[in-house]
Symmetry: C2
Subunit: 450 residues, 2 copies
């Protein structure tokens, strides 16, 4: 029997996270405060514990994973690396395809990898409650689970369109003890102000972040927790790529190309950055961030300072952005709807060290169904972006005869996204390229800096 | 870090299934035909391939698993054996709790273990289509996936109440290419006759079986596929218990008690029968089938010959039964609603070699939430029955101070059952003990035999 699964024991869970800052050719751009000047770590203390702020600004290459965090991660880690023999056969490609199966976490995606350390560090700091936002619901589920594991109350502002489309994601959060509010909500000043103007506002990740940050900033017992974008979040996610490298060593192989979905950037950074370390050391490996054409941050956005949220509560971060008042179309299934992107991912992309591609919605679902019929697992719509880009490359290999080794992150399963698959099968999903003039309009509202 | 996961490599997937018939003190009772006489294997050829019929009547202890079946099973097998340290701590019990995590299959339950070999043997026999029934949807999903793997068309009659309650199970079957009909349906004479009398009939597993058998019996290119009850189905499921025994050996432990949900019996038989082999050889191990009080087949039914379906198409089987026209209450969440039970499980229970317990619905959900908050995974409502019985025993151990080793089958996850969890949290689920007089009434309609 040919080997398909490359497994690690719990004892092989990495002992350190990898910090890409140590290998970047240029130092990361600093976040700016309301006065346009770089902010110090102390500006973040109202919403984050110092241990996470230290990780946020660290330039150390390796950061130790505390034992209780490794222990908690062992709930589902290490995750398998799978050789997709059946998908290769279905495509008739000479390429070798591998995927990391992050859908094995109880919440169904990679997001738990950072939810656990965030809950742990907040608990250590004496915090009682976490406030956060969630879009498609994967992050909210993850932080609800992690909060339960460490005895923290968790309050989740869920983008209204997802809240309505995905009632069972909400039930899942509640099963783990989380409290869920449709955002914009009546719980915060931000939410009340938006609802006063537009009671039917479908919400956005930017609005939900504003609500959660407002709550965290206004209560001493409450901190904020973010599921992507920030440096410490990506740091925690590097456990994916670090495990994958151990597993590729066991497989006696190494990827020519690495694909991951890219919304806020932690999915992509988590799997790709440990390979970037090899690239920085001279290894030939291509790292490809895959985003939707309906929210084309890297491929169509501006590289500029912008707010992380809609209301402008957050520091300004230099990143690819579609403008903080970008409103993603309600027709788009799944996550990857954030207006900005990780500053680290943005800087590496700006410097030409990583690649990005945007794929249209229907093609991603087609790829997901092809994958599901070959490999069994039904991917999350976000993951389908990486599946699509990887299949496209595998088909190019078929045409050229190249035997490349391709690797993608299957970041989550689609069990809570079957309504989107239904709409796809019924011909009710559409492609949507975010219009150039709409991008120009929201970019015109970028804050003026310096 | 204390070890929680006991993993096997794909090369350790068992090479043979275990047939409990070889170790039973008495030969199994034969199925009877319409004339009340034992039927021969040839009576089953209109709906099953000969290879499965041979397994159905075999008394060989070990039956080889074909290589393509092991290869296909490696899609998700071997499944992990998990030591539930966190649940033990949450309960404060000195008992050691282990569970086999069958939720890792792409369809989310153990049912794929028999769907794969059934699809394989039918494909070998030149069959083009499979017809089957599904209750909660786990079996339908599994056979849709397996049909896709071996290039068979799959038609699934889904109990209407589940079809309506679980639209996303249907979407899942469709993603793998299955065709799904609400049962009773207009596709068969059986369905049309029932709907003519009662257009709002909520369906039952017995009716859906009648529809699928009718379709299989009336078309040469179509066979029938059953997800539980029959000997060959339980045979295929023994891979669970066989793997578990290898994993307990690695853990240096052995269960005092084994718990599994029991509806048609393949879940229980699959995990418990390989341990029965040890029990037959003198080992002290208790095997406990757990059923709902709303469908108390083993604990309240009669041990008698009855039809496997509602319409009376199937041979008569000697089993514990509530009567083939038993209609389970629509309020009951999840599966385990079959009126009968596996003849093998029934005979062993009748002879006092295994145990059975019935648990009420609310207590099963309470146990499931306790489990989810400790171990992460949200169990299927069926699995919650085993979780409940295991937790009850762990709490008895807490009271007595006994350090028993307890083992249960986490047969599936609850990702498609969150509506039931919602109703549980909202206080809308009820306990329901199937009334004694209703059982007496349906048992009065048992066929007269001999």
């Amino acid at each position: 029997m040919q080997q398909t699964k490359f497994l690690l024991d719990e004892s092989e869970i990495p002992t350190h996270w990898y910090n890409v800052v140590a290998d970047m050719p240029n130092h990361p751009t600093p976040p700016l405060g309301p006065n346009g000047q770089p902010i110090g770590p102390e500006a973040l203390t109202p919403i984050f514990p110092m241990s996470l702020i230290e990780q946020e600004v660290s330039a150390e290459r390796w950061i130790a994973i505390p034992d209780p965090v490794r222990e908690a991660l062992s709930l589902y880690r290490p995750s398998p690396l799978i050789r997709a023999h059946r998908l290769e056969a279905a495509l008739g490609t000479p390429a070798k395809i591998y995927y990391k199966n992050e859908s094995v976490s109880p919440a169904g995606s990679h997001k738990v990898n950072t939810a656990i350390p965030q809950a742990y560090y907040n608990k250590l700091a004496g915090i009682k409650r976490l406030a956060t936002e969630t879009g498609a619901g994967q992050w909210g589920s993850s932080i609800a689970l992690a909060g339960q594991m460490f005895g923290l109350e968790v309050r989740i502002f869920m983008v209204r369109v997802s809240y309505d489309q995905k009632p069972f994601r909400r039930s899942m959060m509640q099963t783990w003890g989380g409290q869920v509010f449709a955002s914009p909500s009546m719980e915060t000043q931000t939410g009340r102000a938006i609802l006063a103007k537009d009671p039917a506002n479908p919400g956005s990740l930017g609005i939900a972040i504003s609500e959660a940050v407002e709550e965290a900033a206004s209560r001493a017992d409450t901190n904020y927790s973010l599921g992507s974008v920030l440096n410490h979040v990506i740091l925690h996610q590097t456990i994916i790529g670090l495990e994958a490298k151990k597993q590729f060593a066991k497989a006696g192989d190494y990827p020519d190309m690495v694909f991951a979905p890219c919304g806020g950037g932690s999915n992509f950074g988590g799997v790709a950055f440990p390979f970037f370390a090899d690239k920085a050391a001279g290894k030939n490996v291509r790292l490809v961030a895959v985003e939707p054409t309906s929210c084309p941050t890297l491929t169509k956005g501006a590289y500029a300072y912008d707010f992380g949220d809609t209301a402008g509560f957050t520091p300004l971060m230099k990143m690819y952005t579609l403008g903080h008042d970008f409103m993603p179309p309600g027709i788009h299934a799944g996550g990857l709807r954030y207006h900005g992107d990780s500053p680290l991912v943005s800087q590496l992309y700006h410097e030409g060290l990583i690649e990005a591609v945007a794929v249209p919605q229907l093609a991603t679902f087609e790829a997901g169904v092809t994958f599901a019929r070959a490999e069994g697992i039904i991917p999350a719509p976000e993951s389908n972006h990486a599946v699509r880009a990887c299949i496209d490359e595998a088909l190019r290999c078929k045409a050229s005869g190249e035997q490349k080794t391709l690797f993608f992150n299957l970041s989550g399963h689609g069990h809570f996204d079957m309504a989107s698959y239904d709409r796809y099968f019924a011909g009710k999903l559409e492609d949507y390229d975010y219009p150039e003039e709409a991008i120009r309009a929201s970019l015109a509202n970028l804050p003026k800096v310096g």
